[in-house]
């Protein structure tokens, strides 16, 4: 049997034919237009150029405000290409004289420039990436629908590509993709998160794609990080059975029941973290008590730009409607470096360390037009269900005051315009910085709920980087002590506290959180069923005896052992699947 090794991004195993799509090779419609349509085609091109330029201008402004003129100038080159007189005149010629459709004309012109640049030896060679970025952005706006840009699977198949975007993934999932193989792509990428949410097996870092494509049928065995190219008859049975088990598990997950209390009847909420409206298709809303964290910045990643008010409104409304009366907590844009990178999708910036410090509510307050647009979209959508608003990375009282003031102004405007919105909705903050820990009581007096972002909290308290293994830090005593402090402050104001973050997905850490009085967690879909199972089996009242010991423990290893022992004793009577 011939196998190729790769890197597992999303678990599972599947057998099937392959489908190849190269992302930057747009399928360009080679259709001719009527002479009389030339003016309309060129007008369409000018509109697309304007839209692309507006997006880039916004990006430039952000870069200038948060970095410096030098970095902003990287975008000037792209903006200038958009207004290049030769480009516009060449495209117009292709349309008027050759009667090509404008997407085709633009693509041809850009590709010829790109080709010449790539053939040069000079420093200009690197600028081919600018041309590719521009090409992608303009064609996006030229396309009547996404059909030009997105793959089209005709039958269920394993999707093979150079790289895959979040919107591609959503698209192929809808078309019945069985799994994904790509050349580039990381475990922590947003595509990775999505693939795991959709339970699509996914292997990346496969370099010899041609070999994979040459086979009429392959096994994508993400669990073992390999692709089997020529399945032998004696092995087929084994693989068929494993693929069937994977499929069965998927179906079992889909029919999971709602958890609303622990084994001893203490009410408990297991909520879901999502980033894309489409993720809701993978769950039954009646099996979830609500969305504890909607990562709105993912909408930007999908679009490679900050979505406008209407796009946001539709996403928020659709989510609320899909959840059928269950609460949805929308977190305002939280742009970290990684998310910004994904959004800009500018190859030129990818290796620049200057984008380190963007994020949280401060970013939005520093760019009020972005936050205003988001708040307007949120308020408009809020009439479609129990919407809640959450502010990330709060560090100062003023952060909350400024947002509240902004909300009041937007409400007044909406009222003037006769647009409906929900007047009262829960407003909460994420406690995930050291500074927030110092102002817990004043914050509690101003908001309706707390959420603890344990990933960032661990980062701030212990100083570990995000890409390092956080698992070993959940058991640091300082984390539990801080969460205890948060719960106490919240209790004094009768505020609910939800834990959002990887920590809640860890079975032993979860016991500790429950012992400290946490009665609500929000987790990614991949952990949702395991956490629900654990809560269903836990006897919460017994954890009260654990609390004192937990808070006295000063050693992370001892703390880990304490939690593990307790977990074992509680769970030993219960048969685990």
């Amino acid at each position: 049997m011939k196998t190729i090794k790769g890197v597992k991004i999303s678990p599972g195993i599947v057998i099937g034919p392959t489908f190849f799509f190269k992302r930057d090779q747009f399928p360009i419609p080679g259709t001719w237009i009527q002479m009389s349509d030339a003016d309309a085609e060129i007008a369409r091109f000018q509109q697309a150029i304007l839209k692309a330029a507006a997006e880039l201008t916004q990006v430039r402004k952000l870069v200038l405000e948060h970095l410096d003129e030098d970095h902003a100038k990287m975008i000037d080159g792209q903006l200038m290409i958009l207004s290049d007189p030769e480009l516009i005149s060449l495209v117009s010629q292709y349309v008027r004289k050759d009667n090509r459709n404008v997407v085709w004309a633009f693509f041809e012109v850009m590709s010829s420039y790109e080709k010449i640049l790539q053939e040069t030896d000079g420093y200009q060679k690197d600028r081919a990436v600018d041309l590719r970025d521009i090409k992608r952005r303009v064609i996006y706006h030229l396309s009547v629908d996404d059909a030009y840009l997105t793959p089209n699977l005709k039958e269920p198949a394993i999707y093979v590509t150079d790289r895959i975007s979040p919107s591609d993934l959503i698209h192929i999932k809808d078309q019945g993709a069985l799994g994904i193989i790509s050349q580039i792509g990381g475990v922590d990428s947003h595509v990775g998160i999505l693939a795991r949410a959709f339970r699509l097996p996914y292997i990346s870092h496969i370099t010899n794609i041609e070999e994979v494509l040459a086979c009429p049928e392959i096994v994508l065995d993400a669990d073992n990080e390999e692709i089997v190219l020529n399945l032998s008859d004696e092995n087929r049975k084994i693989y068929d059975e494993r693929a069937r088990q994977h499929e069965l598990l998927n179906q079992k997950l889909l029919s999971a029941k709602l958890v609303s209390s622990s084994r001893d009847g203490v009410p408990f909420r297991v909520l879901l973290n999502i980033g894309f409206v489409q993720e809701l298709k993978t769950i039954r809303p009646q099996s979830v008590q609500g969305i504890g964290l909607f990562r709105t910045e993912f909408l930007s990643i999908e679009r490679n730009a900050i979505p406008n008010e209407e796009e946001q409104f539709i996403a928020y409304r659709d989510t609320l409607q899909a959840m059928k009366g269950r609460p949805v907590t929308f977190r305002t844009f939280d742009f970290g470096r990684d998310k910004l990178m994904a959004m800009l999708d500018l190859e030129v910036m990818h290796r620049d360390i200057a984008f380190e410090e963007w994020g949280g509510i401060r970013f939005c307050l520093d760019n009020p037009e972005i936050l205003q647009t988001q708040l307007r979209a949120f308020l408009r959508a809020s009439i479609y269900g129990p919407a809640r608003l959450m502010l990330p990375m709060v560090t100062r009282i003023e952060d909350v005051l400024e947002v509240k003031k902004m909300i009041e102004i937007i409400k007044r405007n909406l009222k003037k315009e006769g647009i409906k919105f929900r007047d009262r909705f829960p407003l909460g903050v994420m406690i995930e910085t050291k500074l927030a820990l110092d102002i817990l009581e004043p914050l509690a007096g101003m908001v309706d709920f707390f959420s603890v972002g344990t990933n960032d909290l661990a980062l701030y308290l212990i100083g570990v980087k995000r890409d390092e293994d956080l698992a070993k830090n959940y058991y640091h005593p300082i984390i539990f002590q801080s969460i205890h402090k948060i719960v106490q402050a919240a209790d004094r104001f009768s505020l609910p506290v939800t834990i959002c973050g990887e920590m809640a997905s860890d079975p032993f850490a979860l016991i500790g959180l429950v012992a400290l009085g946490i009665r609500s967690v929000s987790v990614n879909y991949s952990a949702f069923h395991a956490v629900s199972d654990e809560i269903r089996n836990i006897r919460i009242l017994e954890t009260l005896t654990l609390k004192k010991q937990l808070l006295q423990e000063e050693n992370a290893v001892m703390l880990y052992q304490l939690l593990r022992e307790f977990y074992k004793n509680q769970m030993c009577a219960i048969p685990r699947k």
Partner: protein, 88 residues
């Protein structure tokens, strides 16, 4: 028509940043302005045109202008080039 030769002295030749400065300044004139390099003539108001020439450091180019403000245009653009387009 007015024209003048000038040497590109930027360390990496006429790459995006100096080319951007050149285009920005050329666009301010009414005259038609071209840049000639190795016998190839491109519109100096076109960033794409300038980039594909891949003008190397130390290369000699000709700036030509034709129109009502041709003299000022050539003077300014040559001065810019001599000044490494305000970079470095």
């Amino acid at each position: 028509m007015k024209k003048e030769d000038v040497t590109i002295m930027n360390r990496h030749g006429l790459h995006t940043r100096p080319a951007t400065t050149l285009v920005k300044n050329a666009a301010g004139f009414k005259s038609e302005i071209n840049l000639v390099y190795k016998g190839i003539r491109v519109n100096a108001k076109s960033i794409l045109g300038l980039l594909v020439l891949a003008i190397e450091p130390g290369a000699k180019v000709t700036i030509e202008a034709n129109g009502p403000d041709e003299r000022e245009a050539v003077e300014l653009l040559v001065a810019l080039a001599k000044n490494k387009f305000d970079m470095e």
